[in-house]
């Protein structure tokens, strides 16, 4: 994947009359971090990067955009946001379009074929206490890592995010421009979910109890999720107060159940919730269980086609009904 190509496409996008700014990646403030970059027309495109370190989804920023104060002001401004999207991000965009969360015309999508991103925790454990900006490229199944002027070669397998190993759509499914070769779609499998489901109920309950006790309710999992975009969230509601502000295992369970259920038939599996959790909770275990059900029961893969309707808004007479009491 060529960064030069990305910069050319970014320049082209920002040259369009209807694009107001572009969201991409730039080098972060230290070590292995990358940062979102918001670039307006005529601003420096050279700061744009694309590397295996680009592990965050930028789709959220489309939904976080603060509305302009008046309609006339909105009409005057160019309307499109250009966004760099990987495979998983494009699925999120697709679902947002399906759900009418964002109109297709509002986006100019620069799709990037993605061979997987590095798990921040893994690389920081391998190279601890790195403050100086580091660089990573991928070559023949290895990551070539430059830290403090020294070059290290690490097998990709060792640093790749676990969730990226399960990715089925490495190539964006929706885009205006695609950068990089089309990579094949990978087969569906949920082996780790099946293994977990096979455990006795008590054991599963004890597992989640231990996990949710750690939750500090920073709501980063909700805030980072590209598909959590309710303007009034039940978790924030004061009247009625669905969720107590007390932080304990019981309320934390309630919080995570609400969060997970709102993603039923929706989660596209980018893993942002798990990536950002300061307490390292394995939240994708819950999300992937729901994705597995959507696939096995309804043969539905969220966000793979903007022309389909969201799973929970459709009904077919042949839908399985075994769970209806």
């Amino acid at each position: 994947m060529s960064v030069q190509k990305l910069k050319e496409e970014a320049a082209r996008a920002l040259g369009r009359k209807d694009v107001k700014y572009l969201i991409g990646y730039k080098k972060g403030s230290y070590g292995f971090r990358v940062s979102p970059a918001f670039i307006e027309p005529k601003e420096d495109i050279d700061q744009l990067i694309m590397s295996p370190l680009c592990n965050m989804s930028l789709v959220k920023y489309v939904m976080l955009e603060e509305a302009l104060p008046s309609l006339t002001e909105q009409e005057k401004k160019p309307s499109k946001i250009a966004i760099v999207a990987r495979g998983c991000d494009s699925r999120a965009i697709n679902l947002l379009i399906e759900e009418k969360g964002v109109p297709r015309e509002k986006l100019y999508i620069i799709g990037v074929s993605c061979a997987g991103a590095i798990d921040q925790r893994k690389i920081e454990a391998r190279f601890p206490r790195v403050t100086e900006p580091a660089e990573v490229t991928e070559e023949n199944g290895n990551y070539i890592i430059t830290v403090n002027g020294q070059v290290h070669t690490v097998p990709k397998e060792e640093l790749l995010a676990e969730l990226c190993k399960l990715c089925r759509y490495p190539t964006p499914v929706i885009y205006d421009k695609l950068i990089g070769d089309k990579l094949p779609t990978k087969p569906f499998h949920y082996d780790e979910i099946k293994a977990f489901e096979a455990l006795p109920l008590e054991e599963r309950f004890a597992f989640w109890q231990q996990q949710f006790t750690k939750c500090i309710r920073c709501y980063a999992c909700r805030n980072v999720c590209p598909l959590c975009y309710s303007t009034i969230c039940s978790l924030d509601s004061l009247s009625p107060q669905w969720l107590r502000r007390s932080v304990d295992t019981s309320e934390n369970f309630m919080f995570q159940i609400i969060r997970t259920f709102h993603l039923a038939g929706r989660c596209i599996g980018c893993g942002e919730c798990e990536r950002v959790c300061p307490m390292n909770l394995p939240l994708m275990k819950l999300n992937r269980k729901l994705a597995q059900d959507a696939k096995l029961l309804f043969n539905y893969d969220s966000g793979t086609d903007p022309k389909t309707k969201p799973l929970l808004t459709t009904f077919h007479t042949e839908d399985p009904q075994g769970f209806i009491l």
């Binding site: 972060g28 403030s29 230290y30 070590g31 971090r33 990358v34 940062s35 979102p36 918001f38 965050m56 959220k60 920023y61 976080l64 603060e66 920081e124 601890p128 206490r129 790195v130 403050t131 100086e132 231990q210 996990q211 750690k214 500090i216 309710r217 920073c218 709501y219 980063a220 909700r222 805030n223 980072v224 924030d236 004061l238 107590r244 502000r245 007390s246 932080v247 304990d248 942002e272 990536r275 950002v276 300061p278 307490m279 390292n280």
Partner: protein
Amino acid sequence: MDIFILQKESVPDFLSSLSADYAVWAPIQKDGDTFFEPMPDSRNTSPDLTRQAKIIKQTIFPQTEPLYSYDQNDQIQAPDFEDIKQTALFGVRPCDARSLTLLDPVFAGDIPDPYYQSRRNKALLIGMACTEPFANCFCTSVGGSPCGQEGLDLLCLDLGDRYLVSVLTEKGKGLSDAASSLFTKASAEDMKQGQELSQKAEQSIKRHIDLTGVTDTLGKIFEHPVWKKMTLKCIGCGICTYTCPTCYCFDIQDEPMAKKKGRRVRVWDSCMYKEYTLHASGHNPRPTRVERLKNRIYHKFKFNVDTHGAFGCVGCGRCITLCPVNEDIIENLLDVKGAA
């Protein structure tokens, strides 16, 4: 005060000698992360000394604290502060210990907060010097040091197979006296080694910012467009505030309980949340993330200076490391300086 040597192999003995009079808390490994928690058994646990995900603030100022319970007959039951056990916190990072000295004036006030005070007065802090600071540590830029002593009763410095233990307060002296068989007098050689290590630690802090004049600058740039630029990537979660050792904002809530009872609780609040300044009328004086992030910076680097005479930040770097989107407080402060 005295400086002793404590052999590493004697640490479990030292901790179990403490556990007679104190509830001992220490950093404990769980699922690959470190949590500051009560030690289940000091004999079998070797405390891990990495930076803790859950911070020591919670031992004094817990995230959820029941203030009192009530029932329909107006019977109010407040906690008995006498019941609170003496607590010894082992393995406290100097920045975290210093953070308590910044929280103290907040909860001292005209009417001292009995909940905070009762725990604080019964807490004993045994520090562990940061001989290997983390990537985003910047304590030296806000007046701290990786081997700082502020707020601690004892400070341990890792000399390899043994700790150099500085006794810093009367309370700390009581501890070393009580377990005197485990402590031996430090030699001049040990002290020299300790001094070298402290210097090395200080030099290995890699992130710096000169904050001279930043409080004055903040007084002039409240409406500056730089705040919007700074906030573009913030997603408005509470990580930076909930993992911050100096943040102390809280909310008070009434919660119904079983059997027609209820309780009033104090819970941490975060200025990054929409609800934080939401008025009953529906009006919100901090309607967007821009005003919220701005408040966080102002509180730490202006309001706290104006009210308590010190930055409300100890440079632990957690907000930088744990931020999902690389919102970096050092970069924010550089932006502030640039806007002057």
